[in-house]
Structure formats: C-alpha cells, structure tokens
Amino acid sequence: MQGPRIISVEANSASFFSRNEFLIRRLHSLTGLVPVGAYMCIHLITNASTLGGAPMFQKNVDLIHSLGPALPIVEWSFIFLPLIFHAVVGVAIIRSGNPNLSSYHYVGNVRYVLQRATAWIALAFIAWHVFHMHGWFHNEWWLENVANEDLGGHRFDPKHAASTAALALEAPIRKLAYFIGVVSCVFHFANGLWTMGITWGVWTTAAAQKRANWICGAVGIVMTVVGLSALVGVAKTDVVAAQAYEDTKLQMKQEEEQRVAAENKRLSSLTAEERLAERKAREANH
C-alpha cells in the first residue's frame, strides 16, 4: 500500500515552480531534446569515430576544440546549464510521482519506471563521466588536489584524445560503467522522444503513437550501436601507437605554431616598406 501523501497547502503556497509549472515542464521536455539530447547524439557520434582510428578521432576532437576560448561558454550555455536544469527539474518530477509497477504491469508503466530509473543512472553516470574525463572544474588547485589521478578525475586530454580515452576506459569496470551509462542515456533519450511527441501533441492517436514507437525505437537502436561502437573503438585503440601519432601530430602542430609565431614576430619587427617589398616578392614568385 502506498501511504497517504498529505500535501500541506501553506508549505508550497504558490511557489515559483507551481505558478509556472506548465512552462517549466515544457522547458524540461524541450531541453531533453535540444540541446541535451542533440548534444548527446553528436557526442556519441564523435566518440564513435574512435573506430576510425586515432587520427580521425583526434581530428574531430580538434574540431570541437578549435572554438578555443569560446568553448567553455558554449559548453556551459548549451550543455551544462540545460543539462543541470533538465536534471534538477527531472529530480523534482521523479519525486512528484508514485510508481506502482508492482500492481500494474503494463508496458507503458514499465517504460515510465525505466524512464525514471535511467534518469537516475544518467545523472550518476554523467556526473562521474564528466569528472572522470574532465575533472569538473578547470581550476589548477582543484585538478591537482581533487580531480587527480588518485581519484580518477580529469583523465581525458583533448590533445591526446584517442590514447587518453582508451587509457581511461582500459579497466573492464570502467567499460561496464560506460556501457550501462550509454545504454541508459540512449534509452532515456529515445523513450523520452516518444513521450515528448505525446507531450507536445505530435502523435496523438493510439495508432500514431504505435508508429512513433517504431521510429523512436529505431533512433534508440541506432544510437545504442553508435554509442557502443565507441567502446569497441577504444578497445581496439593501440595506446602506444596512438600516443605516438598524437605526439607527432602535437609536435608538428607545436612546431608549426612556433614557426607561425616566429614568422609573425619577424613580420611585426619589419617596417611597412619592408613588408610591402616582401609581399611583392611573394607575388612575383607565384
């Protein structure tokens, strides 16, 4: 038996949440798809590129990091804040419900419960995953004293994408955690897509909901395959070779940067006439 939940009126009297319940719930639903869901898909696809070998993965990671100083701003406004919003509201939603799977074994009810169970897993997984890979905060002291090797934080180095990823997930237990995390997130996303269609009124009739179920199911399966192929990718990664490639690439990049820097420096030391002369000489060369 479920015990009575006695709601006291005074306690939650017209709180912000209750006044804007509809809006908040719709925002929650929306954030599930964009940006959080969309990001997750891109992220999983990027990760899957480990299958294509260290160079390809590194290239994709570099592409993301080419944003440079803008990256944290993008990350926070399009990933972390929406995710935190989705998670905080999500926890409130979970707590507002009262699952009754033991009495009603309907498929819909199972999915309702799974949606919530995977939400918890996603929460735990994402928290761990971000800590594990990035260490949460890019503060020197924090990285040294908390998110360090002992605690298994900040294991991912974008400059050594494939090798650090492979190393980070080397332990079978970590692979398992990743497996559960990814499958849960994908289920949560795909099933969420389906409920979202009802919430927003995209599919309304039972028949339409059934059809949508196939589509969301397909999305789920594809994303599961994509998400898990990253696991295969890191498992197949030869860490030493990858590191060697990354080092070389990094070195080349550094050299190139140095060269460019030196060149820039040299150019900036020239007078205007000298620069003009140089350009003319280059044009003549062509």
Binding site: Q2, I6, V9, S18, E21, Y104, G108, T195, W200, G201
Partner: protein, 291 residues
C-alpha cells in the same frame, strides 16, 4: 426474476469445479485517517456471483471467518452494471468495478482468496468507501460543460457529422469512476484533516484549493477534449485550456499510460492527452504572441 430455484452453471463448465466456498480478505478502516486492518470472511459460492453479491452476503452475515461478530463492510455501489462508476475498489491488487468483478473468474486466478481494498488515491471514508470529491472538483476546474445561453427553446443544436459523434461518444461515456486516477503514478493522494475549530465551509474551501493544486487527472483532460470538440463548447476552448495549463494541469502527466489500460469504458485517454498536449502547445504560444 420470478423463480428462486438455483440453477446450474452449464455455461461455466470449461474450468474445473469452483470451490464450494472461498475466503475474502477486506482491508477495513473505521474512520478517515484511522489505521487500517485486514479482516477475513468466508463466503459460500453461488452461481453468477460478483464482488457486490459477496459484499451483500458479508453484510447479511456480519461474522468474520473466525466466527466473531463484526459490522458489515461499508462500500459504495448503485447501478450494478458498470455504468454509474460508484463501486470502484482494488480487487486482487487491481483497480476495477466490484459489480463487474465476477467471482468465478477471480477464483480461477486464485482459488483460495479474494482481496478487497479501498482505492489508495482518495481519502478513505470507511472500509471500501472513499471520497472522490477531488475527481468531481476537477470537472469544475476544467469547466466540463457546454455553456449554453439558457434552457428556452432555441431550435436544435449544431449539426454534427457522424464521424465527430463517433469521436465524442466514447469520451462522453466517462462515469467518473476514478480507475484512471488510481492507476496513475502521477496522481498522488491528497488528504486534509479538518482542523479543530475549522468550520465545514472553511474546510471545504481549503480542500478545494488543495485539490486544485494537484494533478487534474486523465479523466478531466479527456473531458476538456470532449467539450472543446463540440461546436458550442469550442467557443470556450481557451478557458478549458487555461485550466489545463494551470497548476496541476496536463503537464503533470508522465505518460505512463496506465490510465488508458485500466479505464473500464476503454476511453482513448492517451489520445485525449496527446490532443490536449497539442492544443495546449498551440494555445500557450498563441496567447504569448496575442498578448
């Protein structure tokens, strides 16, 4: 009617012989907010028995399985043919109408015992009787009626296509039984206690307010779609959608779809929920830009 001779169950001969008697376990509660306790009764099996006739025998007998005197179990019923919605209770763990719960079928699942409990989402009045005031309050909240000008003769109503009648009719069969609410994981119990010195009116007002905060439930969402589809009802569609987007509105639904699975009238509740989802989406956006 007419003959009181007992007849044999030639219609039920597909199963092995049902037991001559069976036990009924009832979760009883003497007063609102009081503690509940199980009581067992032994009932002789008869042909064509349903849970209502079981409760009638228990009332007539007023004795527990151990032969102790007891009071009749309180319960609610009226039509006995699953159209009034009164007799909803939890039978063998599942919410349903007691009048359409046939004993022989229940005994096939469990030959020893039938378990009866009151609904868990509504305050117990006594034993199997609960107060469904919140359910009816939701119908007020969503303005589930056609706001006609008056009752003088103004000619016939609007023409309605057979197709829209076929859509409206199933929704209009909702008998406010509460099954959809009992099974809904998002519909949680609200039970207030009358404070000392609080007048009945003040208490009722406080209850209404609390009910309005809680989830309206699938039945009320479905009623909104029923009235918003009616040509006259559509004139006030916005007011009903306002109610559905207020606190406790459609957003509280978590799409578990238990409601549609337990509705005895097989009302396409989740279709209504989807349609209401679409209507509220459009309504809120329109309202935002029309401001």
């Amino acid at each position: 009617m007419i003959q009181s001779t007992s007849h044999d169950s030639s219609a039920h001969d597909t199963h092995h012989a049902p037991p001559a008697q069976f036990t009924v376990r009832v979760l009883r509660q003497d007063v609102p907010g009081g503690s509940s306790y199980w009581e067992r009764h032994t009932v002789k099996r008869e042909n064509d028995m349903n849970v209502i006739s079981v409760l009638q025998r228990i009332a007539a007998n007023a004795e527990t399985a151990d032969g102790e005197k007891t009071t009749p179990v309180a319960w609610d019923c009226n039509c006995l043919e699953e159209v009034c919605g009164a007799c909803t209770m939890v039978v063998n763990g599942k919410v349903r109408q007691a009048c359409s719960a046939l004993v022989d079928k229940l005994l096939v699942d469990n030959p020893e015992e039938i378990e009866l409990r009151p609904m868990t989402k509504f305050p117990v009045v006594r034993d199997l009787m609960v107060s469904r005031a919140r359910l009816f309050r939701a119908l007020q909240k969503v303005k589930a009626w056609i706001p006609v000008d008056g009752y003088y003769d103004m000619g016939s109503g609007p023409r309605v296509s057979a197709e829209s009648q076929e859509q409206a009719y199933p929704l209009s069969q909702c008998m406010s039984c509460g099954c959809c609410l009992e099974a809904c994981p998002q519909y949680t119990k609200i039970e207030l206690k009358q404070e000392e010195g609080e007048t009945a009116e003040a208490f009722q007002a406080r209850q209404k307010e609390a009910y309005d905060r809680g989830f309206v439930g699938a039945h009320a969402i479905s009623q909104v779609m029923l009235f918003n589809k009616h040509p006259t009802g559509a004139m006030n569609a916005g007011e009903r959608l306002d109610a559905l987007t207020a606190e406790g509105g459609i957003q509280a639904c978590g799409n578990a779809q238990n409601c549609v699975a337990v509705c005895p009238k097989e009302i396409p509740l989740t279709t209504s929920i989807g349609r209401a989802g679409r209507a509220t989406t459009v309504h809120v956006i329109k309202k935002f830009f029309d401001r």
